[in-house]
């Protein structure tokens, strides 16, 4: 049980660390695509947090098996939320990349520092 407990914390820590790695990339990188890559990590980390909560000891995926009694199922709700969040994430990313492509066309670069100089 100790191991499971540790693992539980470990999941959250990995969430925290991945989150800030992503955020760090967003803040400190000046390449626009790199910023979006950072944003992608940042969002994925949150998915891990949600999914970590749905786990129940001895449980299984929440797909009801006919005729099996006393089966413990994991929580379906966080899964539903994250399904939505994943799609939201990829949508944002696609839009961001489309903007970056246009930035590159109009400015000839995707480095923020160079763009700011040319304006």
């Amino acid at each position: 049980m100790k191991l499971l407990e540790l693992l539980g914390y470990y999941n959250y820590w990995v969430f925290a660390i991945a989150l800030v790695i992503g955020l760090y990339a967003v803040i400190s990188k000046t390449n626009l695509i790199k910023k979006l890559i950072g944003l992608s990590i940042f969002q994925s980390a949150v998915f891990l947090m949600y999914i970590t909560m749905d786990k129940v000891e001895g449980g299984t995926a929440p797909i009801i098996k006919a005729g099996v009694e006393d089966q413990i199922y994991s929580n379906p709700l966080p899964q539903v939320l994250i399904l939505t969040a994943i799609v939201v994430g990829v949508s944002t990313l696609a839009l961001g990349l489309a903007i970056v492509v246009r930035v590159n066309e109009r400015y000839g670069t995707i480095e923020e520092s160079e763009i700011l100089e040319s304006d």
């Binding site: 955020l23 626009l32 944003l39 947090m49 966080p78 939505t84 839009l95 903007i99």
Partner: protein
């Protein structure tokens, strides 16, 4: 179920389901007509909703027939009704006036997508306002955000792209922070419904995840609401957006985030968490005051008229936050009223700017000398809305400033400091509005032929409707006041 009962759902569904149809309307002008129709219908729905909740009853709706907390519930009270009026009103007004300006700025073949994104933005904002479910708010927040990125990216200048990229990054960080906060609360309470959260959060209110969640939600929403100093995305985005989009977004986009912030905080955290109201006030009040002063000061020196007005919005958001941070009936009422009145004033101002921009593409103030001679009506509307922004008596802006000052004085020993800040910033507002007026009316008219070439009638008429609304609600503020009263009662009433 009768039609009235369906109104909260229709408020979102009408613009949302119109959006895919609009994309298919290729022939010239049809997309605009369709989008405008949808927006006007939404506006009518929000008026009906406002009338329905004036009695003080909250309209609720269970999506899919599943009762909360199992399904997603919608609820519309006084506060939501007022914000809905602002959102749908801004969309309807801007769309009604939009065609000439948009024809000028967006290529014809891209217009259907543009108008569709506009409706999606409207649907997203309306969806946030009616929702009573924390996660559902996130989903609609994303619809509205993505749509506004698209709309701003329609700006003709290449700087629009950079502005929108920055907005996208900041907006996504804000939304993700909100999502983390909601996740942490869900972890501790097992529910996503706001009312259910309020009732279940009590026993775990002092646990660390909930404390951290409160922080994440406040910061995330403050980022989306452009509360100083998290506002850096706003002036650029407003400056570079197509003119009519600036009208729409400036009138309502950040206000919806403020609405969520106020609602979440007053409803879920304050009644349950000891000392939270003090922490909330302590956190927001300095930011609000700094925002009011710094942004007003910066606005005095801005060169571009749109950027100036955008920066002034940051200060105005400060007023709204200041009212909210008093945690009192009068404060909340002032804050809610200012949401309404600032939308009127800023929407009108940007409409007038759109009129001017229709004829003069360079919007730097010193380049606009003597424009009043060629566009007397547009400039007069700009002056009228400018007076409202300053808060001159007889305009809508005065009502909320007066309420805010009264609330400040009731807030305790520091009241006079707040009043001083409000007055100083009003003075600064006089200066920056005056700079515009002076240039328009008394500026160098060297190369202006005095042949009157006003903006198209469609644009002008709508601009004047907005300008006169500033006067009307300056003299007859009963309707928004009643809703704001109701909102303040409800917000201050949680947990009591």
């Amino acid at each position: 179920m009768d039609l009235i009962a369906h109104l909260p759902a229709l408020q979102v569904i009408v613009p949302m389901l119109s959006a895919p149809i609009i994309v298919l309307l290729q022939p010239r002008g049809l997309a605009w007509a369709g989008a405008t129709l949808a927006a006007v219908v939404s506006f009518a729905i929000s008026i009906a909703l406002a009338v329905a909740v004036l009695g003080g009853e909250t309209q609720t709706y269970s999506m899919g027939g599943w009762a909360a907390p199992f399904g997603i519930a919608l609820s519309v009270g006084g506060l939501s009704a007022l914000v809905l009026l602002v959102v749908t009103g801004a969309a309807a007004i801007a769309l009604l006036a939009a065609r000439p300006s948009i024809d000028q700025q967006i290529e014809l073949e891209r217009q259907p997508m543009f108008y569709s994104a506009w409706l999606l933005g409207l649907a997203g904002l309306a969806g946030i306002v009616v929702s009573a479910d924390a996660f559902n708010i996130f989903v609609f927040m994303e619809i509205s955000s993505l749509a506004s990125y698209v709309l701003i990216a329609g700006g003709p200048d290449r700087r629009a792209l950079l502005a929108v990229f920055k907005y996208l990054i900041m907006g996504t960080i804000g939304a993700t922070f909100y999502l983390i906060g909601v996740g942490l609360i869900y972890m501790m309470t097992g529910t996503l419904n706001l009312a259910d959260m309020e009732s279940r959060i009590g026993e775990v209110a002092q646990t660390r995840p909930v404390l951290v969640a409160a922080g994440f939600i406040t910061i995330g929403l403050a980022l989306k609401a452009a509360v100083f100093p998290l506002h850096v995305w706003l002036p650029n985005a407003y400056t570079q957006a197509p003119h009519m989009i600036t009208v729409f977004l400036a009138a309502c986009a950040t206000k919806v985030s403020i609405y969520v912030l106020i609602r979440f905080d007053y409803m879920v955290f304050q009644p349950t968490m000891a000392e939270h109201d003090n922490q909330f006030a302590l956190f927001l009040m300095p930011l609000a005051l700094l925002g009011i002063l710094v942004a007003s000061a910066v606005a005095m020196f801005e060169g571009n008229i749109k950027r100036l007005l955008g920066t002034s919005s940051v200060a105005q958001i400060g007023y709204i936050m200041l009212g909210a941070s008093f945690i009192s009936l009068a404060g909340v009422e002032a804050s809610v009223m200012h949401i309404f009145n600032h939308a009127l004033a800023k929407g009108g101002l940007f409409l007038a700017v759109a009129c001017i921009a229709f004829r003069y593409s360079d919007l730097r103030i010193q380049e606009l000398g003597g424009v009043a001679k060629t566009m007397p009506f547009s400039c007069a509307a700009l002056v009228l809305c400018g007076l409202s922004l300053i808060g001159v008596p007889g305009t809508a802006g005065f009502i909320s400033k007066w309420l805010l000052i009264t609330a400040s004085l009731q807030s305790g020993p520091w009241g006079w400091v707040f009043v001083a800040v409000i007055l100083v910033s009003s003075l600064m507002a006089v200066v920056y509005i005056w700079r515009i007026v002076e240039s328009l009316y008394f500026g160098g008219s060297t190369n202006r032929d005095s042949v009157i070439s006003e903006a198209p009638l469609q644009l002008l008429v709508i601009t004047w409707i907005a300008a006169l609304a500033n006067l009307y609600f300056g003299f007859f503020p009963e309707l928004p006041l009643a809703l704001a009263d109701n909102a303040a009662d409800v917000l201050m009433g949680y947990g009591k």
